[in-house]
């Protein structure tokens, strides 16, 4: 089961991220994780939030270019080597990672890695088999 990420197109302009985060704040959206991919002219802001639909609506209504994309999340222990094991598991199975980012959850003190890969099905299978349970949408909502 994939979790959903919001991707927002952001022009490189001062104050633009402030407007986006304020829009989300005003709608009562809690951001769980985020990352910004940057080029010289634009960036893509990626967000994991508690309520995707509400966040999507708030951002579209405010005039932002926003899409929802599937991503895979994996919970790992917050110890040295944990991320390396996940990466090795994917690498060994020939799965290419487009991008990734990570966050630490408050309650279970686990670290979560969010990533986008080329072979979805296979990635889920090898991760589960390798002992890395894949993050479920309802888990994100309850974080």
């Amino acid at each position: 089961m994939k979790i959903q990420q919001l991707s927002i197109f952001v022009e490189n302009q001062i104050g633009r991220l402030a407007e986006i985060t304020r829009t989300l704040a005003d709608s009562g959206i809690d951001i769980k994780a985020f990352s910004v991919a940057d080029t010289s002219d634009f960036g893509i802001l990626r967000l994991i939030v508690t309520d995707n639909e509400k966040a999507y609506e708030a951002l579209s209504n405010a005039g932002f270019t926003v899409t929802m994309a599937d991503v895979i999340g994996v919970g790992i222990t917050d110890t040295p080597g944990a991320l390396a094991s996940v990466m090795e598991c994917l690498g060994k199975n020939g799965i290419s990672i487009e991008y990734l980012y990570a966050f630490i959850a408050r309650e279970d003190e686990k670290a979560y890695v969010i990533f986008n890969v080329d072979k979805w099905q296979q990635a889920e299978e090898v991760l589960t088999k390798g002992g890395f349970p894949v993050l479920q949408p309802e888990q994100v909502r309850e974080m």
Binding site: F9, T39, I44, T67, A69
Partner: protein, 241 residues
């Protein structure tokens, strides 16, 4: 020439005629200094005879129109009425000697002014200023004619929204064209930088094959391009000519 180790003074060039696209007084100074020549402006259009309609004299302040071949008028592009000398308007030609394709009061779309004041060179032919714009929306970029409507049709052919802005500038005496295009959510599917860069490349190559110049494509946020009274601004020309 400098890179090839050739001394400009060794080639004995005295004068050069430069036309086909607008150039600035600064460029004239540069050419004259670097090449050691007198740089003269020349005006023409392929519908009449190509280059040869008007030339600068040694005074270098306006081009004498060859009035034995061309009758020149400047008109108000809106009303079509002739304007007095010295006023800027659209240049119109009637050709006396053209055969097969006679042109009578042919509208060039070039904006300039005429002067019949006595020229220090002794010639009495009317002088026209360097054209300083167009009465239609045609742009001349690196000598190539570009219409915003061409950009629009390329975008439509790619299934994209025609919300765009052409930004023309001049960097190191070379024209540059940037086409800004407003994003739509379908372009962001996947949410990867690679995906957006692929779109930019696809648009750039389609523009290149239609316009014959290679523009820089820049994706911008929706509704971020200027609109005045509901009508979109299509061109920002930052060149100072």
């Amino acid at each position: 020439m400098r890179d090839m180790g050739i001394d400009p003074s060794s080639i004995r060039l005295r004068a050069g005629f430069f036309g086909a696209e607008p150039w600035t007084e600064e460029m004239r100074q540069q050419i004259q200094t670097l090449l050691g020549v007198k740089a003269y402006d020349i005006y023409g259009l392929s519908e009449t005879c190509g280059p040869g309609v008007a030339f600068e004299c040694t005074e270098q302040n306006g081009m004498h129109i060859n009035e034995d071949f061309f009758y020149a008028e400047v008109i108000d592009p809106q009303t079509g009425k002739p304007l007095p000398d010295g006023e800027y308007g659209e240049l119109v030609f009637t050709c006396f000697a053209k055969q097969a394709l006679p042109l009578i009061r042919y509208r060039t779309r070039d904006i300039c002014a005429l002067s019949r004041e006595k020229c220090a060179c002794g010639r009495t032919f009317v002088k026209m200023t360097k054209p300083r714009g167009r009465s239609d929306d045609m742009l001349i970029i690196r000598g190539i004619n570009v219409f915003p409507s061409q950009v629009e049709s390329v975008l439509l052919s790619l299934g994209m929204q025609p919300n765009y802005l052409l930004e023309v500038d001049r960097v190191n005496n070379l024209d540059t064209l940037t086409i800004k295009i407003e994003m739509t959510p379908d372009m962001l599917v996947g949410g990867t930088v690679r995906g957006l860069e692929a779109i930019e490349r696809r648009v750039a190559s389609a523009m290149q094959s239609t316009l014959n110049i290679s523009p820089k494509i820049k994706l911008v946020e929706p509704k971020s391009l200027p609109r005045s009274e509901g009508k979109a601004t299509r061109v920002i020309d930052k060149r100072k000519i």
